[in-house]
Amino acid sequence: MWEERRFRAACGAPIALRRREHSASCRELSVRGPRLQLRSLSAATSAAWLAAYALFALCQNSMVLSAAIFITLLGLIIYLHFVKIDQESLLVIGSLGIQVTSSYASGKESTTFIEMGQVKDVVINEAIHMHKVIYYLCILLQDPEDPQGVSEVVPLFQSSKPRLDCLIEVYKSCQEILEQRKTAPQSS
């Protein structure tokens, strides 16, 4: 079934890589980040509410308190639904394509499918991001006019940036499937 291994993200948080081989030409890899911690949630909430209480102590307007409660609730819902990504998964089907899914903490899932004809290769690229150089996995899309060129780069695992050891595992799994499409046309 699922094989699970623990790794670290670029920022140091623990992440887990789960691999499943559905068939010889179909693999599913998913990276799960840590769940929303109760301590960070309560720290943020207390900070917001203490600041609101300080404001209330200054201006004696009780609307500040209710506004703070409302904003905290709204901010939490928006964060869980639009920002906090729990799990990112990659489903590689040999002759069909690659499907990338991101599941948010509120249960929302957003999926992208790239068909195999457009995929040139899956590589580990290093680039400058903010103030550091990070390794990230990306799908190179083929340029229809120029067979050697790359038309677009689709970065994967953007929110749970895994480190190089995790990326190498995912890279090897993907390359095993991508190599098959070079040999398959000759056999058919």
């Binding site: 590589v123 580990i124 190179l140 050697q148 790359v150 970065p155 090897k172």
Partner: protein
């Protein structure tokens, strides 16, 4: 030197010399302050400009550029060191990450 003269000699003396049209003394202090604040902001600005002009993670500039696309392939000669060229990222990846240790 002219700047120091202008900054230190009191206004009345300058007027008596006939120099009534020189700028107000306020600027003798204001201009250096402007300069120093500009230098300080320049640090932050330069940092910001650098970060904005770095290619985003999903651009092809992280993989290749104009010179690499137009390079010519030199013919392979026996027993000679291969010519210098930009190796495509797929080959580099295969060489680095695929061989089993």
């Amino acid at each position: 030197v002219l700047y120091l003269i202008w900054a230190y000699i009191p206004e009345t003396w300058l007027f008596s010399l006939g120099l009534t049209y020189w700028p107000q003394k306020y600027w003798a202090v204001a201009l250096p302050v402007y300069l120093l604040v500009a230098v300080g902001i320049g640090y932050v600005l330069l940092f910001g400009i650098n970060m904005m002009s770095t290619a985003p993670l999903n651009s092809t500039h992280t993989i290749t550029d104009n010179y690499a696309k137009k390079q010519q392939q030199k013919k392979f000669q026996e027993e000679a060191i291969p010519a210098l060229r930009d190796i495509p990222i797929s080959e580099v990846n295969r060489m680095f990450f695929l061989p089993e240790k």
